[in-house]
């Protein structure tokens, strides 16, 4: 009955979604207030129903109900409960249900909390959200039904891909999806505002918290995914420019650009048409990512069952929604009034630079990601585009962007003078010069990108704090702190990337018991191997005794695991985190005569990469709280006036 309840809830939600669209269109065509007041409750109930359907699926997975096809194909009764729970979305159908549940939840949240937006625009927004929803309900119900029954029931489930059996599965996908799908709100807002011709500062202020909220989740989701890949794959890398990673980076780039341009629109009523365009692009990138990851055109740990029908379905949705939004944009952009003017040397000017660079990086990542698919479709030639391309093209632009980020917040709105700007950035420039001096004098020679990265990071960290200079810290608004912390986070993260790429040490050796090797500040002694067993795996575990200088020795135990269902081997790295970096150890194969392969890395300050990501998200959160509070005050004031 659980599966049937879930399926019924899903059908009902789809019907309500259709109703929401019809109500929206009716309310926009006539001034029928009855229909207009009904649209909010409909959106809320739709959200609750999909949440219910999703809860039913979780319940099925927790019970390991093997009469449900999806559970039988992707779960196993011997799995620890956390992976039964998180395994709900560790498969195609479950992850699409999560996608739709978050889409519906986004609509419901807008219906409940959005008070700033003009009534008509809100109705158009909810109608647009329903229009997106309909396509994805259809995809779920007709091409990816998670509740399909299996008769007769399976005796045992086939299990979950062992790479996914990690606490990361409980955190990374939902967080990423909240950002990924949450940005649909910006898309719907943009469509709504185009329909009602309502693009302006009030609209921008209403849209901003929603963008911020999904951007925070997206940032956290990407950082979490990066760390997960780093420790789980055992390759020692934290970003591989894999198309699947790019699929999450592209919406982030667009959303980051949008976040900054919407501020220009809200504060200075400029960049109207551009902001709308970015909102459309941001969610288009999310849908493109969904297509790339879920259609099976890419094979990766993220792509589950490969079914060409599904790929075509998502591609059709992609074309309809992006095409529709762009057509509406082309029709209506002429009616969007021109915004206010500004000098190049101004905060607006710097934000335009931010947007241009982010868009250029987005374009480069997009081309690099789609190029192999395009070439294969046209010529049949297979090729791959990897780190050499992305580092050479996106890397320098990212450095430029970060340099612009140092200057931007120090500029005044409207117009500023070169002379004043020079004064304000003199200290960060001095700090960067000192960093350059220190690197040249004391460090071994390093590559140009990491070199520039370290120098910039030092200056940018100083510059990001500069907006607080000579201000009354207690009266500084929370969103200013948010910006400062987010920008500081970028500098911290970049420092981590540069340190890792410039100063990592790697040792690859075949060892016998008693052998000692030096990597970074650590000496690592290989003691022995022993067999160990977990709930659904067995493993060979190495015993390593590690000592840093004269410090207290400690042990690390990397494993080579064999999972029973499905039969797969994985390597579990053992990692030691110190204040200034991580020691990363991986056990390889044995040759049968007692010799084992061992791979050791010393990665100085690598943790800064993810710490920076968390700071960025935290800055976003402060900003969100600050903006919402400010808006609430403004509304109270207006209510009194």
């Amino acid at each position: 009955m659980i599966a049937e309840t879930g399926l019924a809830a899903l059908w009902l939600a789809a019907a309500l979604c259709g109703l929401q669209l019809v109500f929206g269109v009716m309310a926009l065509r006539s001034d029928d207030s009855g229909v207009a007041t009904a649209i909010r409750p409909v959106a809320v109930v739709q959200g609750i129903l999909t949440a219910l359907a999703f809860a039913m699926l979780i319940w099925l997975f927790l019970r390991t109900d093997l009469s449900v096809e999806l559970v039988a194909a992707n779960s196993h009764s011997a799995k620890p409960w956390l992976y039964k729970f998180a395994g709900t979305w560790g498969n195609h159908e479950g992850s699409m249900l999560l996608w739709v549940a978050i889409l519906a939840a986004s609509g419901a949240l807008v219906a409940v909390f959005e008070r700033r937006l003009k009534e008509k625009t809100l109705i158009a927004t909810l109608a647009a959200q329903a229009a997106i929803g309909l396509g994805f309900y259809a995809f779920l119900l007709f091409a990816s039904n998670p509740f399909a029954r299996l008769s007769p029931a399976a005796a045992e489930g086939r299990g979950l891909n062992p790479l996914l059996q990690d606490p990361g599965l409980a955190f990374h996908p939902p967080t990423l999806y909240f950002g990924y799908v949450g940005i649909s709100i910006a898309f719907s807002f943009a469509v709504g505002a185009l329909i009602t011709r309502d693009v302006g500062p009030v609209f921008a202020r209403a849209m901003r918290p929603w963008i911020l909220a999904s951007w925070i989740f997206l940032t956290l989701g990407i950082a979490a995914g990066s760390y997960w890949a780093y420790y789980e794959l055992g390759w020692g890398g934290w970003w591989f420019w894999d198309p699947v990673e790019n699929a999450s980076l592209m919406p982030w780039l667009a959303a980051t650009a949008l976040l900054h341009s919407v501020t220009v629109l809200a504060t200075r009523d400029a960049l109207r048409a551009w902001t709308i365009m970015l909102a459309v692009v941001a969610f288009s990138m999310s849908m493109l990512g969904t297509f790339l990851v879920r259609s099976g055109v890419l094979t990766s740990v993220h792509a589950f069952a490969v079914d060409p029908r599904r790929g075509t379905f998502i591609l059709a949705l992609l074309i309809i929604y992006i095409g529709g939004a762009l057509a509406l944009y082309a029709l209506r952009v002429g009616t969007v009034r021109e915004g206010s003017r500004f000098e190049f040397m101004s905060r607006e000017g710097a934000l335009v630079v931010n947007n241009v660079l982010l868009s250029a990086i987005l374009g480069i990542v997009l081309i690099g990601t789609l190029y192999p698919l395009g070439v294969e479709a046209v010529t049949g030639e297979q090729l791959s585009v990897g780190p050499p391309y992305f580092n050479a093209t996106a890397g320098p632009l990212a450095l430029l962007l970060v340099a612009a980020m140092a200057v931007g917040p120090l500029l005044r709105w409207r117009r500023d003078e070169w002379r004043n700007v020079m004064g304000r950035i003199s200290l960060p420039v001095l700090i960067s010069s000192l960093a350059l001096f220190a690197l040249v004098m004391f460090a071994s020679p390093i590559g140009i990108l990491p070199m520039l990265g370290l120098i910039l990071a030092a200056g940018v960290a100083a510059a990001s704090l500069a907006p607080l200079w000579k201000r009354n810290l207690r009266r500084t608004p929370l969103f200013t702190y948010g910006m400062v912390i987010a920008h500081l986070g970028i500098a911290v993260s970049m420092a981590g990337m540069a340190f890792e790429s410039a100063f990592s040490e790697e040792v690859l050796v075949a060892v016998r018991p008693g052998d000692t090797h030096q990597v970074g500040p650590y000496s690592v002694t290989f003691d022995n191997t022993r067999p160990v067993a977990g709930p659904n795996w067995t493993a060979v575990e190495a015993g390593l005794t590690v000592q840093r200088g004269d410090g207290q020795p400690f042990t690390l135990a990397p494993q080579a695991r064999m999972f029973s269902s499905p039969q797969t081997e994985t390597s579990e790295a053992a990692i030691r985190t110190a204040w200034n970096g991580q020691l990363y150890t991986v056990l390889g194969n044995g040759d049968g005569s007692g010799r084992w392969q061992l791979r050791l890395w010393w990665k100085p300050f690598v943790t800064l990469i993810w710490l920076g990501g968390i700071l960025v998200a935290f800055g976003g959160l402060l900003s969100l709280i600050g903006r919402v509070r400010r808006e609430r005050k403004t509304m109270e004031r207006e209510a009194w006036a």
Binding site: N161, P162, L163, L233, G234, L271, A273, W274, L298, T299, S300, V301, E338, G339, S340, R341, F342, V352, V356, L357, S359, A360, I361, G363, I364, I367, G368, Y371, P372, E381, Q382, L383, S384, V385, G386, P388, Y389, A392, T393, L397, L508, V509, A510, P566, Q567, T568, E569, T570, S571, V586, G588, N589, D591, R595, Q597, R599
Partner: protein
């Protein structure tokens, strides 16, 4: 500057940036996109020494040899018609085995040996690298 002009300027900046990014991307792709080749492709038309590409095929039966240093292996990648000798230093990914599909990244050396920098991981026993789906290996892998 009038508002209209400003908008035009911004539009032009955006277009220039997009075109610039496009050119930068194409320039980067010309040098950095790695091709995929099978052993018979190599036999028919060998790539220049040192040019990076991806080699895909099946690890030949009984061909994996451990070298004395304990970290390097030598093996043969074959398809239905040809074979290429491969040298790799490092930990082989999970599920790397004889008679199973493999994709390696690297380049040919002067002796025609493919020096692999990495061997792409396989995610589970049913997984087949997409490039290999069309390669005729002469028989079913794993048989």
């Amino acid at each position: 500057m009038k508002a209209k002009h400003q908008r035009l300027t911004l539009a032009i900046i955006a277009i220039v940036a997009v075109i610039g990014a496009g050119f930068l991307a194409l320039y980067g792709l010309r040098d950095n996109a790695a091709l995929f080749r099978t052993p018979s492709d190599i036999a028919a038309d060998p790539l220049p020494v040192g040019q990076a590409f991806r080699l895909g095929g099946m690890v030949a039966d009984g061909s994996i040899e451990e070298q004395a240093d304990g970290i390097t292996i030598r093996f043969v990648v074959q398809d239905a018609e040809a074979e290429v000798s491969v040298l790799y230093s490092g930990i082989t990914p999970d599920l790397f085995a004889e008679n199973s599909g493999v994709v390696a990244e690297g380049a040919l050396d002067a002796e025609g040996v493919f020096v692999a920098e990495s061997i792409l991981a396989k995610h589970d026993e049913n997984y087949m690298p997409p490039e290999l789906a069309d390669v005729d290996m002469g028989r079913e892998p794993g048989q």
